[in-house]
């Protein structure tokens, strides 16, 4: 067993080399960052257009939506930056190149995911942080130490929820090879996480809260800072939900890599 610090050091070394390699294509980095910038603001643009025509969305003002959206952008950044290689599993499985990941004395998920460090995701993170600060100033949220702690805790859990959804969807590749449709579905679900969950009822709200808990990616935790009086106590369990989901995802991954047989090509 390697220790955590060893892994951190290793990760640092791998990513420095990776970034050096990527920097060969500087124009590509700039264009990708611009693309990321646009794509991460698209849904917010939709909210803005809607709120030009109606005064509020289920009682939420534009600035509150900006806050929720900013939270969402920060929460999905770790998935984007650290786990972007999940999208490639299907190609590795299809072309047989996945074999190489079995031959290192390292944790497989760590080794696999470390092969990619998505630089453009940093744009998203920066824009998210900027928007969060802007919205908190506009909304006069006062950040006590306890609240900052809560923010970190909920962001951590939210990031884990998002990572779990995407990684477990990508694991479908081990069984059906082309996991793109499953991933596409997971990716689409991600876009609904900044929606106010209060607009849903019945099966949708239940699913988004308990089954595929995208509500915990942005809306429920944001409530804690915007309208603490409306919050359900469920949110205090979010670290358990995040860690629990990640544990399940890791179990699926392990099952997947153990049942992988290659496609013969």
């Amino acid at each position: 067993m390697r220790t955590l610090s060893e892994y951190l050091r290793l990760y640092f070394i791998i990513e420095t080399q990776y970034i050096k390699a990527r920097m060969q294509y500087r124009a590509d980095f700039i264009i990708s960052s611009i693309g990321m910038f646009f794509s991460s603001l698209a849904t917010l643009g939709v909210f803005w257009v809607i709120l030009e025509s109606v005064p509020d969305l289920a009682g939420w003002s534009l600035m509150e939506m900006v806050f929720i959206y900013a939270f969402y952008m920060i929460a999905i950044s770790p998935m984007q930056i650290l786990f972007d290689h999940a999208w490639q599993i299907r190609f590795h499985v299809q072309q047989g190149t996945f074999l190489k990941y079995y031959f290192r004395p390292l944790n497989m998920m760590f080794y696999y995911m470390s092969e990619m460090f998505d630089l453009k995701g940093i744009t998203q993170l920066v824009v998210g942080v900027g928007l969060l600060i802007y919205a908190s100033i506009q909304l006069h949220i006062d950040w006590s130490l306890a609240r900052v702690f809560l923010l970190c805790m909920t962001l951590f859990s939210a990031a884990l929820v998002q990572i779990s959804i995407i990684v477990s969807a990508s694991c479908a590749a081990f069984w059906v090879v082309n996991s793109y449709p499953v991933l596409g579905l997971a990716w689409r679900l991600r876009e609904f996480s900044p929606y106010p969950m209060t607009i849903f009822d019945g099966a949708f709200r239940f699913t988004f809260t308990y089954v595929i808990p995208i509500g915990f990616v942005a809306f429920y935790p944001s409530q804690l800072f915007l309208r603490p009086e409306e919050v359900s106590s469920l949110i205090y369990f979010s670290p358990i939900i995040g860690i629990g989901l990640f544990a399940i995802t890791y179990w699926i991954w392990t099952k997947g890599v153990n049942s992988y047989t290659g496609t013969g090509s």
Binding site: Y25, G35, V46, V54, A58, K120, V176, G184, L185
Partner: protein, 263 residues
């Protein structure tokens, strides 16, 4: 011409291989329709008509927009780009075939496949599950023509972006930027009527609205006169021709810089 229609057939058959994917795409659409339904219900909770659209019209616009969205996603930008990067584009260059038309007819097959597998089921869902009311009018009959032209415009954009593969390492940034600009400004996510007036004026001078807004208006407001529909079709035709020719001219330029290393 026959050889090109053979390609369309090939594209269609290729689409069939990914049957497994349809289930997820359809589930995705159902979820999207549900989310859109709740979202628009909450937008319309205080008033019956916003910006000249009723809830029924707005939801039909957005719901059908999502079905068309999958249809008009040709992925041509990704295919061309990977063909250029891997050098497999040489396979087309040595054949007595036009690369632009080759790609067009192949993705037309995909398009037709998606019509049967995704758009029609979504239509049925809208009618039977979400109980959306359709108005009958001539617009419904022009809709397929309009949709075909929308496909041509969308294809030209994708083809154009894909050709940048001759110059850049990855096409992700360009593709994503293009997709976002198109989806937001074409009405794929939100009816164009909802945009502030000043922005709306600009948007009607851009080609994006011809991709989603035009065909969607033919379905949501089908009982208008030809005086309304003919200019709409005319504008679509204009953009389809201009963009398609533009993309072809760009190809003629871009293919000159191609270098393929080894085999």
């Amino acid at each position: 011409m026959n050889k090109y229609f053979a390609l369309t057939r090939g594209g269609y058959m290729m689409g069939v291989i990914y049957r497994f994917g349809f289930i997820f795409t359809i589930i995705g659409n159902v979820v999207y329709l549900g989310v859109a339904y709740y979202l628009w219900k909450s937008i319309y909770q205080h008033s019956d008509v916003i910006r000249g659209l009723t809830f029924n019209e707005a939801f039909l616009y957005v719901g059908l927009g999502s079905a068309i969205f999958i249809l008009l996603k040709t992925y041509v930008d990704w295919f061309i780009h990977s063909d250029i990067r891997e050098g497999t584009i040489a396979n087309y260059l040595i054949k007595p075939i036009d690369v632009g038309l080759y790609t067009l007819f192949f993705s037309l097959g995909f398009f037709l496949m998606n019509v049967t597998a995704i758009t029609i089921p979504t239509f049925l869902l809208l009618i039977f599950v979400f109980k959306v009311q359709f108005t009958v009018g001539i617009g419904l009959f022009i809709f397929p023509i309009s949709l075909l032209m929308a496909f041509l415009i969308s294809f030209s954009f994708d083809y154009f972006i894909g050709l940048f593969g001759f110059y850049t390492e990855s096409v992700w940034g360009l593709s994503t930027s293009k997709e976002i600009i198109v989806t937001v400004f074409s009405g794929a996510l939100i009816p164009l009527q909802f945009f502030p007036d000043a922005i709306q004026k600009v948007l009607f001078w851009l080609p994006f609205q011809a991709i989603y807004h035009t065909p969607l208006m033919m379905i949501t407001r089908p009982n208008q006169s030809w005086d309304v529909f003919l200019p709409m079709l005319g504008i679509q035709l204009f953009w389809a021709v201009v963009l398609f020719i533009g993309a072809r001219l760009f190809y003629d330029q871009a293919v000159k810089v191609l270098r393929i290393s080894g085999g």
